[in-house]
Each structure stands twice: as structure tokens, then as C-alpha cells.
Symmetry: C2
Subunit: 228 residues, 2 copies
């Protein structure tokens, strides 16, 4: 029996854009584990209430429910150790740092660059919730937040320097091959990639080349993702 | 025969403050490898010319010369695999990210907070070189750079969020025990710790508690370090 995953979807049910869900899509593909995704919207808390919380990804695997992308990655590694996501307990501990870095620096840096585009991508029934919750967080309208993105993106690109430095010396964040570290960073980049046409990375950035390789992995999982 | 390491020293030869040298001091201690350190000053390039470059740490081990802290860590792991610094190749690849993050975010964030204090710590014969090279880099006098540190430190503390998030869920960056990731971050913090009395971390920061544990490791290697 394959794993079922509740996956954030947009107005178009094929538009999937959660950075956390994408981390798990990559991780499942890495392990060759089939998954059936169920499109889910922000305002459908009732549909995942069985998990005891209100965010996706949530997976169900033969009667076991797991939520939170990090917990799911650990669960998958335990269920099917090879091919490994972490390369052992120290590799996993170090990946926790990369996960924390992506959650704070990357998500925080990307959000203001695409937040108004994102509003257009979310399901109509989610839009009022999305606008009010995000405007409360930023203290400004989504239009105001996004309007200076041409300037802001410069600092965002600079904040990715650690990734750039690593990719100058190794092909993948996981070293000789992709690991969950690659899934974390690429999964996070799938978020803007799917909902916005704003150019986040410069063409000659080694991160752009690596992201292109990530899109092509696993039978083109990322390449075939629906975009706005 | 024990390893010899050229180690950046101050006016007081017992004052050792290079963040890169400290990473290696911790790594050597982790492996239980004895080391004889040779105090070295910025203007003593001739003393390490045999290495083909001009920066410390440089180690000599039974006729082999290795420089660059990352390359030295890899060399040590190869020579004496256990106790491991990286926990395997994926753990090492992920540590490369933490190393790149520390080199860019941590070193770049700490420098302006302690740069004038550092001038007082360096050897008198290094001071003219130190002031002119660093003032050229910052485009301001060392006094000007450091004067707004009470404000700047707030952003620096915020930039450590990924470390803080990880230490909320695991005791060490390496997981159940310290790894080279701990040596990277703690080694970097030894730099301000040794040359300045400016308070970098708030008392209730989990990073401060972890750093205290790091100082106590390896027979109190960090605790017994000379400070200004």
C-alpha cells in the first residue's frame, strides 16, 4: 500500500507549492516510495484534523499518521533506511541545521518577494484567510510588501552564500549525491518556482545550475511540476 | 610523534585567537591526538612559507604538511577515523555547509563587534599591518567600525537563529554528541571569547549554555584558554 500525503494545492488542484511538502516529495522520490497526494487547502483544517494539528504535509502510511516535514523525513529513513536521506545519525544532526537555516533564512527571505503572487495562486476559498493572516504578520498589505522586491532580492541572493560556497566544491549538498539537505533547499525553492515568475536567482549563480539538476532528478519530478 | 600546529598568537604568546585554529584544536582534542602548537603572528609569513601559502592553521604530521582548517579536518578524519568528526561522507558534506555558514555569517557578523579590541590583542609587530589591512577592508577606522556594536549585536544574535533552533531539539550540533559542526561554531566563538570582553550572547540564550558545555569538553580545553 502506498503512502498518502496531504499536499497544499492552489486554485488549480495540480498547482502544489508548499516548501515543506516539496521536501517530502523529493525525499519519497529519493527512496523510490510511491505516494498518492491529496490536494489540500489552507481552510480545510477539518480534513487533517485526524493528525491532531492543522498543517501539511501529513502522511498516512498503513495506519500510521505523521506530520511535520522533519518528522516525516526521519520516519521515512527509519522505515526504509536505503537509499539514505541522512547518511547516519551525524549526517541527520547536521541536516537539522540546514533545515533550521532554510526555515529561517530562506523562507523568511523568499516570502516578501512572492507574497502577492502567492495570493493569486491560492484557492479562491483560501484567499481571504491568506491575505488577512499574512498582512497581520507583515503589518502591511501584500502589495506593499512585494513592491520593493527588485531591491530586496539582492540581499536574499547574498543570504544564500553558504549554499553557493558549498556548491563550488561539491556537486550536491549531500556530497557526491543528493541527500535530504538537497531536498530541503530545493524543496524550499520549489515554493517560489511554482507560484511566481519573479527571477529569484541570477542565471550565472551556481545555485541555479544545481537547482536545474535537482528539477531533473527522480524522473523529472521538479521539471514536471505545474507552475503559474 | 605528535602533530605540530602553527597557531595565531597575540602580544601574549599564550593568547590564541584564530577561529580557524580553534576549530582544529577542538578536532584534535576530539580525536585524542596530541598537538604541539607554535605561536605565530600575522607578519611571520616566512615561518610558514614551506606550506606554500600564508595563513594558519598549518599542521605538520610526520613529514606531511596540511593547511586550511577544512582540509586539516578531512586529513585528521582520514588518518584516524574514530572517534569520527563527521560520521561519514554525508555528514561531512553537510558539515561543509555549516562551515561555509560560519565563515560567512558568523565571522562577518562578529568582526565589526570586536575589531578594535582585537587590535589590542595582536602582537605589537602585527598592529600596523592589522590596522591598515582591516581598515582598508571596512573603509573606516577600527574605532568607527566598533563604536555602534551595542546596536549591531542585536542583528548578530538574530543571525544565529539556526544554531538556536537546532540546540532546542538536540544537545549538540552533532546530535547525541559533539561533531566537527560543534567545533566549527564553538571554534568561531573562541575568537571573540579570547580577545574581547564584549558580551556577544545573552545569558539566557541556549547557545550560551551549549558554548559553556563546549568550553568544558576535552579536559576543559576551552575553559583553560587564555583571555584578555
Amino acid at each position: 500500500m502506498s503512502i498518502t500525503m496531504y499536499d497544499l494545492a492552489g486554485a488549480d488542484p495540480d498547482l502544489r507549492f508548499s516548501p515543506y511538502c516539496w521536501r517530502i516529495r523529493f525525499a519519497l522520490a529519493h527512496k523510490g516510495m510511491p505516494v498518492e497526494t491529496i490536494p489540500w487547502r489552507f481552510t480545510e483544517g477539518d480534513k487533517i484534523a485526524f493528525s491532531g494539528q492543522g498543517k501539511v504535509p501529513v502522511i498516512q502510511d498503513a495506519g500510521t499518521t505523521v506530520f511535520d516535514s522533519w518528522a516525516i523525513a526521519e520516519y521515512l529513513e527509519e522505515q526504509a533506511p536505503m537509499p539514505s536521506l541522512f547518511g547516519g545519525s551525524v549526517g541527520r544532526a547536521h541536516a537539522a541545521f540546514i533545515n533550521a537555516w532554510a526555515d529561517s533564512v530562506m523562507l523568511g527571505g523568499i516570502a516578501p518577494l512572492i507574497i502577492r503572487d502567492l495570493l493569486d495562486a491560492v484557492d479562491p476559498k483560501d484567499q481571504a484567510y491568506f491575505r488577512s493572516s499574512r498582512e497581520a504578520r507583515f503589518g502591511r498589505t501584500l502589495e506593499q510588501v512585494q513592491e520593493d522586491r527588485a531591491d530586496r532580492v539582492v540581499a536574499f541572493r547574498a543570504s544564500l552564500l553558504p549554499v553557493r560556497l558549498v556548491l563550488r566544491r561539491q556537486a550536491w549538498l549531500g556530497g557526491a549525491g543528493p541527500s535530504y539537505a538537497d531536498h530541503i533547499v530545493a524543496g524550499t525553492l520549489m515554493w517560489p518556482h511554482c507560484v511566481s515568475r519573479f527571477q529569484l536567482l541570477e542565471d550565472n549563480d551556481p545555485i541555479a545550475a544545481w537547482f536545474g539538476r535537482m528539477l531533473a532528478l527522480y524522473g523529472g519530478l521538479g521539471t514536471s511540476a505545474k507552475r503559474v
